[in-house]
């Protein structure tokens, strides 16, 4: 059974899909920590808020234009834009006050955000799950069925990874961001406004999360509590990959997703344990993560 190409393909695609979901969520978390030294525990909750907002926009436009993939794309653009603004405001009014503070204080603030945003979601959208329906027909490949939408998710993950790499490595703004990781004072001495850089990075992280939420909407309902489940997996990914390393986050997401997927096939009862064994191994042998730097650690 294990050598069946259809089985391997099915598990691989499932694993990659899980990997890209984790990457899209974790990359903003990793970026925020890497650049700003802020551990945003509310990252997944802001992802959830982005999902609800995108859902509402999709429903609104869907009434006039019909509920289809194009309307979803439109909703994702609007939802992401709104959340970029929300991210900017949160950094401007809350996160900014946490720079240089101890980790527990950051966690307290961001945990408070989880509770506040959770209650806000209850007030605005209620407690029922929210999801959208796109009539997705399964695709038959290699003697198995696959969900064609997984190709959209995998492509989105790769596109975001490539976009982030290009941004950080090839643009002037990206170079400033990287420089700020190592010496804020020097960057500031060059006349570059560090607060603006930080606000931009935080908004970008939240924007990626909101984009991810919109992309996931046809597959998973947005519901209270999902954020808490996901943030733990995100932390596992960034610990393995190394806080602050986008490449590390990408590779770690693939490791976690694919290992988890094949573990379900081979040893279903231990699938989650296998993932956390990797986390433990990394914490023991390379606490700064596979692609993190000792300096950062």
């Amino acid at each position: 059974m294990l050598l069946d190409p259809g089985v391997i393909f099915g598990q691989l695609l499932g694993g990659l899909s899980r990997a890209m979901i984790l990457f899209l969520l974790s990359s903003g978390l990793s970026l925020t920590f890497g650049v700003m030294n802020i551990l945003n525990f509310a990252h997944a909750t802001l992802w959830l808020l982005g999902g609800y907002i995108t859902f509402s926009i999709f429903t609104y436009f869907g009434e006039f234009l019909g509920e289809n993939g194009w309307v979803l794309a439109l909703a994702i653009v609007f939802g992401t834009s709104i959340m970029v603004g929300v991210g900017y405001l949160i950094e401007r009014f809350l996160i900014r006050r946490m720079y240089g503070r101890e980790l527990p204080e950051q966690l307290l603030l961001t945990f408070a955000l989880i509770l506040i945003i959770g209650d806000l979601i209850k007030l605005v959208w209620g407690v029922e799950d929210r999801s959208i329906y796109l009539p997705i027909e399964p695709l038959e490949m290699l003697d198995t069925y696959v969900n064609p939408y997984y190709f959209v998710i995998v492509s989105s993950g790769i596109a975001v990874a490539a976009g982030l790499w290009w941004f950080l490595q090839k643009t002037r703004y990206g170079m400033i961001v990287r420089a700020a990781v190592y010496s804020r004072d020097m960057v500031s001495a060059l006349g570059i406004r560090i607060p603006l850089i930080y606000a931009g990075v935080f908004a970008l992280g939240i924007g990626i999360a909101a984009f991810a939420a919109g992309v996931f909407l046809p597959l998973m309902p947005m519901a209270l509590g999902v954020d808490i489940d996901l943030i733990i997996q995100c932390f596992a990914v960034v610990v393995i990959g190394g806080f602050g390393s986008i490449l590390g986050t990408f590779v770690a997401s693939i490791i976690v997703g694919v290992v988890y997927s094949f573990s379900i096939l081979i040893w279903p009862d231990g699938a989650l344990a296998v993932v956390f064994l990797i986390v433990i191994a990394v914490l023991i042998w390379r606490p700064w993560g596979l692609f993190g730097t000792e300096l950062r650690y």
Binding site: I21, K122, L123, Y145, G225
Partner: protein, 435 residues
């Protein structure tokens, strides 16, 4: 919240609830929380019947709890409009969110008992939450109406005389699925199957009930693989691929709540149902309403208390009318079971003419009562109501509703006595294990 409703008193539920929706419920709950800090008047304390409502608005159970919350609020409002229980004991509901987590449920139950002095706790949804509070309610001698929490352990291994179960327990539910699946095995010549379930008390208990009952009914049918996923899973593709890779004749799912919706959605898009039959998964009215467009027609599902199966029952007619008037929606299974719990409590109180907990407990013992599922009696040995064990049917587009229901022509309603633990001696043997 509207400025017309600034105060929420024990006597004004009707006005409060007339225009209440989910969002306003949250605001109302917050206001109720503030009110608990205000010293109470002695007279109100003496006359009021305090009811604790423990349901999740967070976590995988939130999807079902919405119906339960609405039902309890509607039913208590209607009873309060007549002056309360016995016309003189208005009901005050104190709501707490369990987050679908047993430790939080236990903490909130203790708080409801100690600070709010509740006499009865209704709800809990998650079986793990129900079992977590059973020790507490047993010790503090508080009634517990398990409206939807249905692990069989609640009434067997973990039995306490203070818990009354208004829903079919997991063994009854699994047994009812087995009745239908055994027919399909015979008809289709199925030989192997795979199970997938939520890795917590209810999922494990339901799966075990199904596997055990099927082994008795159809011993030649072999279980090839068991898959378990953590509560709140969001990505099922690897599980679905693993099911297809096992090439079973059918798959059985012990999945409920948000996870059920996510699983069905992803399984459908991955073509699982084209390759592997999936009979007997939970398809309550919630799923029928929420997935009205996507739910595969013809899929065989299980419901616990679907309104359309008992349209001839006066109580069901009353619930439908009440629910539609307030929410412009048909009541879900979870709403119906909560309506039954509240009106069951009212019937017991009416019978004895007082609201004392021990007296009400004694009145419920072995009581026969009207429910939306017809007349039903609590089993003497474990307080399990003998309502139908399950409704197994094929998803079908009805001209009467804006969502699919089970085809009434083929729906099987399995009686409790056909599938529950056969004798009270057997039940007592299980209960002894608790001690």
């Amino acid at each position: 919240m509207s400025t017309k409703r600034p105060h929420i008193s024990d006597h004004k539920w009707e006005q409060v609830l007339k225009s209440m929706d989910r969002r306003e419920f949250i605001v109302t709950s917050a206001a109720a929380g503030v009110l608990t800090m205000v010293p109470r008047f002695a007279q109100a304390a003496a006359d009021t019947y305090r009811l604790g409502l423990l349901l999740p608005v967070t976590g995988t159970g939130a999807n079902y709890a919405d119906g339960g919350i609405k039902a309890v609020m509607n039913a208590t409002a209607a009873i309060n409009a007549k002056g309360g229980f016995l016309g003189k004991h208005p009901i005050e509901v104190s709501y707490r969110d369990t987050h679908t987590k047993p430790d939080i449920a236990a903490r909130e139950a203790r708080d409801l008992i100690s600070r709010e002095n509740v006499q009865t706790i209704v709800g809990t949804y998650s079986s793990a939450c129900a079992m977590a509070i059973q020790e507490i309610i047993h010790e503090r001698k508080i009634l517990h109406l398990a409206a939807t929490s249905n692990s069989s352990k609640i009434v067997n291994e973990n039995f306490t005389p203070y818990t009354y179960q208004f829903c079919p327990n997991s063994k009854m539910q699994s047994g009812s699925v087995v009745v239908a699946v055994a027919e399909m095995i015979k008809k289709n010549g199925w030989k192997t199957y795979v199970t997938i379930g939520q890795d917590y008390e209810w999922g494990r208990d339901t799966q075990k009930g199904f596997v055990t009952a099927l082994a008795r009914k159809s011993p030649a049918t072999k279980l090839k693989k068991e898959l378990w996923f953590k509560l709140g899973e969001t990505e099922f593709s690897s599980y679905i691929s693993a099911i297809m890779a096992s090439k079973p004749d059918f798959a059985y799912g012990a999945i409920a709540g948000k996870d059920n919706r996510t699983f069905i959605r992803q399984a459908q898009a991955m073509g699982l149902f084209k390759r592997v039959a999936y009979p007997g998964g939970l398809i309550s009215v919630t799923e029928m309403q929420q997935q009205r467009k996507s739910l595969p027609r013809g899929m065989i599902g299980l419901a616990r208390c679907p309104f359309f199966a008992h349209l001839d029952q006066p109580l069901m007619q009353k619930y439908i009318k009440m629910h539609r008037a307030k929410h412009d929606a048909y009541p879900t299974d979870w709403a119906c079971m909560h309506y039954d719990a509240i009106y069951g409590l009212e019937q017991a109180i009416d019978k004895i003419g007082n609201i004392g907990t021990e007296a009400v407990k004694a009145a419920l013992k072995g009581a026969t009562m009207d429910t939306c599922r017809g007349k039903a009696t609590f089993r003497d040995c474990n307080n399990q109501l003998n309502i139908p064990a399950g409704y197994v049917g094929a998803v079908w587009d009805s001209p009467d509703y804006p969502f699919p229901i089970f085809n009434p022509d083929t729906m099987i309603i399995v009686k409790a006595e056909e599938v529950w633990t056969p004798t009270c001696d057997d039940v007592r043997k299980l209960q002894k294990k608790r001690a």
